[in-house]
Symmetry: C2
Subunit: 108 residues, 2 copies
């Protein structure tokens, strides 16, 4: 899914996380579904989430999550792998991801 | 500010609070400012927040907060008084309002 010619994958430092950008990122049902799936295990390739939306739209959702600091993306060969930045989120905003993951199943 | 002929003030029960509606309500800077001001004391009339926006827009912001369960509104004579539903929010979503109030001053 990732274009190898695209700009580098920028990630905010933990100290730069913005609670309101994070909450805004987490209020979208598609992004919530992505976070829920990532919480269940280790990294997942962008094409493995089984979401019925266009690749371009999905890419935007991953970007919003990455720019808010919720996920980390890295390229492994032709695969773009996503992981949840769980520990950093938990340190900066204790309890937030727990709440979101607890309430998400009723929504996504 | 309140119209005495408008529909009744509906408030969700604590059990009906939706985390994502609450987070969405709290990501707007005007609503964040309202919540921050309400956290400092007891009830405040709608016209006392000193926000430089039109009454109609301000009314919509109060409604979003009320419908998400973040604030309670009641009419006292000609005044519509707003209070934070702090205890109920804290019970349903422990730590969320604390986080928001802690991070809000840098945003509003």
């Amino acid at each position: 899914m990732a274009s190898r010619t695209s700009s580098p994958l920028l990630h905010p430092d933990e100290s730069e996380f913005d609670l309101f950008a994070v909450m805004s990122a987490l209020t979208d049902p598609v992004r919530l579904n992505i976070v829920l799936q990532l919480s269940a295990g280790s990294g997942k390739g962008c094409g493995t989430f089984g979401l019925p939306i266009a690749k371009s739209a999905l890419s935007r959702h991953f970007r919003v999550l990455r720019e808010a600091g919720v996920i980390r993306q890295r390229d492994e060969g032709t695969l773009r792998v996503n992981t949840l930045r769980r520990e950093e989120m938990d340190r900066r905003f204790p309890g937030l991801l727990d709440l979101v993951l607890q309430e998400a199943p009723s929504r996504s």
